[in-house]
Symmetry: C2
Subunit: 330 residues, 2 copies
């Protein structure tokens, strides 16, 4: 297999959370369940939910400033902001514009959105590496923010318990080539496009074409989704590792999308990696949609769970169905 | 100025239009105006509007197949489809998934969305060049499709007359370096974020945060938008040309976003280029949002308006406000 590693260095990360922490105990009461039910069913102790009027752009801006501050970087040193959210702020213009505005970034800074639903951060990292190496930009901030709470269907138990809101940012440069992507692999399996979706929001369901309130909610067919993803993931892993030129045993840290309790358990089993290798932040964040992977990355970095020189893997299955993974030397 | 030209070659283009051609004469009758009013006011003879149930994904798929067929390329030779629309198909998953499905592309092909509103195609070309040169992909299809008709506010005369629906595709490879981007420049001026927008569609206006039907329509403050863009464009041109290392006189073809009659007139005046250099397809398409630039590119290529070896410029001002331009050797 021909390999082309691509230089990219993560120089800062940051996260942001809404103020309100929603415990599973609170949800037991709210949903009329016996004490302990929601935590047992969801595997979550608490998640964060924004108020109905809170701004996705402001949450994103806060994660961006958190990353800038952490590494003492000037906003003027950023020449591109990539918004890598799953759900947009509004239909037009793109979310990057709103984030740049909320963050009071210097006028003129480039910005656009990249979207591959829950794995948008992986696509954005792949894109950023290409842009840094073609010298289009020198320092790129990738920001993922999602307010899943705005689309929770409280009548659908399974999906209503797992989502949390949040934002995360990673700032990247080309670096000297020591830090690099060994391989990335994005695969789209659109046969599964209806297994996890929010139907409204674009041209499909709108006042002119016809829509109803439930079109604005997450619709998730958890079992068929899990079955479809499971049928693909084993071969997908093999392809990703082959492309990377490493074996599973070489991977020092696995940073997965925090899709659900079950998906993380399944991932651990499939990969046969010890708990210390797998970053699992699900219990205290829930599934933060596109913000999950960069939040887990931030936790991995700040918790010293990445080993310099040792391959780390970002990995996730997302609405689409999209499988995305990346093996990088941090 | 340090220059880094980036190899990229457009190997095929294609377009697609909805069946219904809406003439300005028809709109005169529909809107109760004297004959000739709409054409005079808008500068458009006809534009195409999809039916309220027509699918944005199918229109995009049709442009993709048109490009594949034009150059006799196999769908199996495409390893990434970038959706570069301004308005999404639905909130989740991303539009690329729906286009891959509608186009019956081979399962597993990578896909994601890039969005910088009306200039999404320029961002997508910049991203594609980076990805081709980092060897992440070998052949990329960029597809832009927008159904502006789904958001036309018929009570707002100015914006209601100018929009048309459509889709366009360009298929690109790395090539041998003869065809290349000399420079691209994306600038975001988010102070203008409310001058052209559709407020619904994401987390900002939804049933939980509050919304009304008019949030789903284009809101355009044409005069302030034009004034703001005009105040920026002269210096922007200078920066783009400086970065490209060419003068305006070197540019063989200018392919602008077809924003409006006025914007094209203004562009011609500012650039002082002869009519033969500026691709103006506005009269028979209208403003096709993100599909305008690649449709104009397709018309330029099929009409032999590009000169091999001579720089061409893609350029547009978009909702955001985003200014984007690219000078390339085709």
């Amino acid at each position: 297999m021909e390999q082309h590693s691509v230089a990219i260095k993560i120089i800062a990360t940051g996260i942001a959370l809404p103020e309100t922490r929603v415990t599973s105990d609170q949800l037991d009461i709210q949903l009329g369940k016996p004490k302990g039910y929601v935590e047992k069913r969801s595997g979550i102790t608490w998640r964060y939910h924004a108020t109905p009027q809170a701004s996705q752009a402001e949450l994103a801006a806060s994660a961006l400033h958190n990353a800038l501050t952490a590494a003492d970087l000037s906003p003027y040193s950023i020449d591109l902001v990539i918004c890598a959210c799953a759900v947009a702020i509004q239909a037009l213009p793109c979310s990057a514009v709103h984030i740049l505005r909320a963050a009071a970034m210097p006028p003129g800074v480039a910005g656009f959105d990249i979207n591959s639903s829950c794995v948008s951060f992986i696509s954005a990292m792949e894109v950023a590496a290409g842009l840094l190496n073609s010298r289009a930009y020198r320092r790129i901030a990738i920001v993922s923010a999602d307010l899943a709470s705005r689309g929770i269907d409280w009548n659908h138990e399974e999906s209503s318990l797992i989502f949390g809101d949040g934002a995360a940012c990673a700032i990247v440069e080309r670096g000297d080539g020591q830090s690099r992507i060994l391989a990335s692999l994005i695969e789209t399996w659109p046969e599964g496009s209806e297994l996890c979706e929010i139907r409204a929001g674009g041209t499909r369901c709108n006042p002119r074409s016809g829509m109803c309130d439930s079109d604005f909610l997450f619709h998730m067919q958890a079992k068929p989704l899990f079955r479809y993803a499971s049928s693909l993931i084993e071969d997908y892993f093999a392809r990703l590792l082959y492309k990377s030129g490493v074996t599973l045993a070489d991977i020092g840290t696995v940073i997965p999308h925090q899709a659900s309790h079950l998906s993380l358990k399944h991932m651990r089993k499939r990969l046969q990696v010890p708990e210390s290798v797998l970053i699992d932040i699900y219990r205290y964040y829930g599934n933060q949609v596109a913000a999950s992977i960069p939040t887990a990355l931030h936790e991995a970095i700040t918790g010293n769970r990445l080993t310099p020189g040792k391959p780390a893997m970002l990995i996730g299955t997302a609405a689409g169905l999209t499988l995305a993974g990346m093996v990088l030397i941090p």
